[in-house]
Symmetry: C2
Subunit: 337 residues, 2 copies
């Protein structure tokens, strides 16, 4: 933990100790004890009481206490990744779409309650770091990790460092505008990328098709007793796995939008590898193949330049807590936690 | 110059010597001798014979010889910025929209002919570096420099380094797709940002309006004897300066597209400052004011996060050669030229 008067001391031993990682999503607080090689030694979880700041912090503290209590080993600290936008220092949650934080000093609260070295930051940044340290982005000098879930999150690892931008909110490419006057986004804008390439986008497109062409969507509608409004991305995913041609087509469309956005990111950043993680990534090649196909056609300068490799994430749903744990270990090692 | 067997030696004295900078555009090769403080001590130029690789290299060599011949001082080396996409090493021009280079080993050719330490790279990267070292991006930890000319070029300076991406072509954000099925771009895609926010975009919009609504465009058409097809961005700029309301409106539209693209880049990279350079930037607030207005409305997370400052470049048309000169000086200082 930090003190205004006593600068934190680098701890060379930190690299050998396990750390506690926490991933806070819209519905749950998931925690784990993570060894320096990325192995998860123990896990615990609580439901996230999304509307209350205090109750969310209570859930974090409970998960930490449960895991620390069971662990026989010394823990280097606690890394907390949360679905929110953080300022550059990681002290303050500026904004969270699914949780109650608005300009909230999460770090200070947790320091007071946990009395342990902390890293606090964005969950997609933590997941990106995990893929860089232990997963699909290992060894890359410039990797973008795109987290496809309800929306789109992201993290940038360049030159072995997480790049968080001037104000802490880099990698929020889910809110690039890809369609002028397009679909309304939770951020208040229209046409954001995450409205076309995410789990939510899949559900929305399915509902639109089911309403306008119920005959074509008969197999999908069977899954929701004919009520188009109940269709979600998960229904489409299940139907596609069962061979429903419309569902397969809808995954292709989301994949194509994913590939187009990767082409746009390649124009801006020219990454070596783009790692696709998050819940939607379990669909694998059903989404990635059309994404690569579109990227190949849309990459600016194609034929004269190499494009990024597009690969699926390796750490699955645990990436966030694994990355958060390693980030607090790194911070303690550098004397900045 | 480099040799496969003898590694280049860092030269601590390089920081105190003037360097020769070259900027190769579609129509001219401009050169200058640049002091370490960014002052231009002498200049020379030649026309660019765009269709011939050899003739372009002849023009570069002629400018170097003219300037070196007139200079009494020792020169640290030659920096060459060119309107093309370079590979990561700077050895090869992958592609150039306005010049004849296709996978051409420009660096090797110039090493053989000039026998001096070299930096070779993208002209917008060189201009971005100049703004970082001497201009509007000085002191910034994360600056994007957007060069608005015929098209859109760009450079990224992060942590005091030019960031060129995994394959050397970062900052080509002019080819982000901002309109699905939009205007055809020279790159072969449709809807690229530079088709909506550049000198060319200004001309194209003016021609479209003049054809469809000649009465509204009467003042613009007066400038081209009523021939809408002859209208260019420069006609619009001159007309706007003279108070033509339609021309002012067209500049606002280009400015709004500029601001929208900056909002998209802010979602991806979260820069501290965005510097607008290139020929269009001389229009100043006529374009920048509507750009800032759009950015303020379109910035994802606005109200909860700071956005980038948007400022006009300070080094004007000389930015490319000033930056190229400083980049060869840095390379020699580090032993990498």
């Amino acid at each position: 933990m930090r003190d205004a008067l006593i600068p934190p001391v680098p701890d060379a031993g930190a690299a050998t100790l396990p750390a506690l990682g926490i991933d806070i999503g819209g519905t749950k607080v998931a925690g784990g004890i993570v060894a320096p090689d990325g192995t998860i030694l123990d896990t615990a979880r609580r439901a996230t009481p999304g509307r209350s700041v205090e109750a969310t912090e209570d859930a974090i503290v409970a998960v930490v206490q449960e895991l620390a209590g069971r662990s026989g080993e010394q823990l280097v600290g606690v890394g907390v990744g949360a679905a929110g936008w953080f300022d550059r220092t990681g002290d303050t949650v500026l904004f969270s779409p699914h949780l109650a934080w608005r300009n909230h000093s999460l770090r200070k609260d947790l320091e007071g309650r946990l009395q342990r070295p902390l890293w606090v930051g964005n969950d997609a940044d933590a997941a990106a770091w995990a893929e860089y340290r232990y997963g699909a982005a290992r060894g890359s000098d410039l990797a973008l990790v795109i987290t496809l879930g309800t929306g789109i999150g992201g993290g940038i690892v360049l030159g072995g460092r997480l790049q968080r931008g001037a104000h802490g909110v880099a990698g929020e490419w889910g809110h690039m505008r890809v369609v002028p006057d397009g679909r309304l986004c939770a951020c208040g804008n229209r046409g954001c990328w995450e409205q076309y390439a995410s789990g939510n986008a899949l559900g929305q497109t399915a509902r639109e098709v089911a309403r306008s062409s119920p005959a074509a969507a008969a197999l999908l509608l069977d899954r929701v007793d004919g009520e188009a409004d109940r269709l979600t991305g998960e229904h489409v995913a299940t139907a596609a796995a069962a061979g429903d041609p419309l569902a397969v087509e809808l995954l292709c469309e989301v994949g194509a939008w994913l590939g187009q956005g990767i082409a746009d990111l390649a124009a801006v950043l020219d990454p070596e590898v783009v790692v696709i993680g998050g819940g939607v990534s379990v669909l694998g090649e059903m989404v990635l193949a059309p994404a690569r196909e579109r990227l190949e056609r849309a990459l600016p300068g194609r034929g004269f330049r190499p494009g990024p490799r597009v690969v699926v994430a390796q750490l699955g749903a645990q990436a966030g807590l694994v990355g958060a744990a390693d980030l607090v270990r790194s911070a303690v090692g550098e004397g900045s936690a």
